[in-house]
Symmetry: C2
Subunit: 225 residues, 2 copies
């Protein structure tokens, strides 16, 4: 088993050109000593500038992406090299972690790492970023047996059962939304073979991610016993 | 059931007096525009000053505490008001979250919140900090049926079994270490009724916390069915 874990439409991107001159962005840019378009879009600092942005409510939450990644990369399954992690972003970039790569738990270091990767810095052996739609990522790079996406709009299923199904596959792919509000886009829904709901209420990405990996891990252990 | 979750000996504290004049601390203090003893001790910035600090390897990691808290406070069990969260810190302070209180997912906001609470700011209805040893917290405040602490030094147990035992109690208490390296102090070991190991390798606090709450949640659902 290699579990492909995709955080999709994630709220992780550099400040887009249209906001580069906005007051909140310029102030943040000065404070940080970095050009506006080389800093991460972050609602905590740029909220006042983000109102007119397309899909504004789904963007500018690198903190969610950070916690989501930590909840996967700290698991025994990941540490054993059995999970591949991809962050697909709202503007169709993909940030891919090399096998077993740990990411900084300190948010400021994580932010710097993502700014470098998304800005095209060389030398990113452990974390590389490239332009790609979610469809291309799935079809050309991941090529999974089956794609399961998690959404409050999906059919109710038990996480345990999902874990057992997934653990029986060779190259499954799980998609969790990397954004704070709203639902998957039609494009994302289009790449999913099934859409599953695992709780009565919408759960945060890092909670779903942690539970998914854990259930797959337990099911794998059971299969190997 | 009310599950008491304690992050013990956590690497969360304001800069101690002995480091207030250290170069790395003063530089950070100037950058942030806050007096040295009102900022969180953070190895990411103060590493060079921390060498001679007692128990240095267990201190100055507020990022771990942040992620640990998020992994609990995002769970359905917590959102239902069934989990009480206490952060006991290395210098014997306790930060207590009021029922269902959500903490900022943005690390910089979390840092500000903790600096205010630990600095004794008024108005902290949702997050309050007070001086307390772990023993006092457990004996006088939590008064649990049973205290289970998690450590690589404990006896091997399955998380599922721990979850079932705990879910059958009225007021259980779980203790997870809130520090990056090393083991529980003798004092912490002294308050635990049992010491349990749930994986072959040492796992990060947030991973153990997420799995524990999840297993208790599942066991609770089973008992209620």
């Amino acid at each position: 088993l290699v579990l492909n874990f995709v955080l999709a439409e994630s709220a992780l991107e550099l400040v887009p050109r249209e906001l580069a001159g906005a007051r909140a962005v310029v102030a943040d840019s000065k404070r940080r000593g970095k050009p506006p378009m080389e800093i991460l879009l972050d609602r905590s600092f740029h909220h006042s500038a983000m109102g007119k942005l397309k899909d504004s409510e789904k963007r500018g939450r690198p903190d969610l992406v950070h916690v989501g990644l930590l909840s996967v990369t700290g698991t025994p399954l990941y540490l054993d090299g059995k999970v591949r992690v991809y962050v697909h972003t709202w503007p169709d970039m993909v940030v891919e972690l090399a096998e077993k790569t740990r990411i900084p738990k300190n948010y400021l270091r994580f932010r710097g790492l993502m700014e470098d990767a998304l800005g095209g810095s060389e030398g990113g052996e452990l974390v590389k970023a490239y332009k790609s739609t979610l469809s291309d990522l799935i079809r050309r790079r991941v090529r999974p047996d089956e794609v399961t996406a998690f959404s409050i709009q999906g059919e109710t299923a038990k996480l345990e059962d999902v874990g057992m199904q997934v653990a029986a596959e060779k190259n499954p792919c799980l998609i969790v939304g990397g954004f704070p509000h709203g639902h998957f886009s039609p494009t994302t829904l289009g790449v999913a073979d099934r859409l599953v709901r695992v709780d009565e209420r919408p759960l945060e990405a890092h909670i779903v991610a942690a539970r998914l990996v854990y259930e797959v891990e337990k099911a794998t252990d059971r299969l190997n016993d």
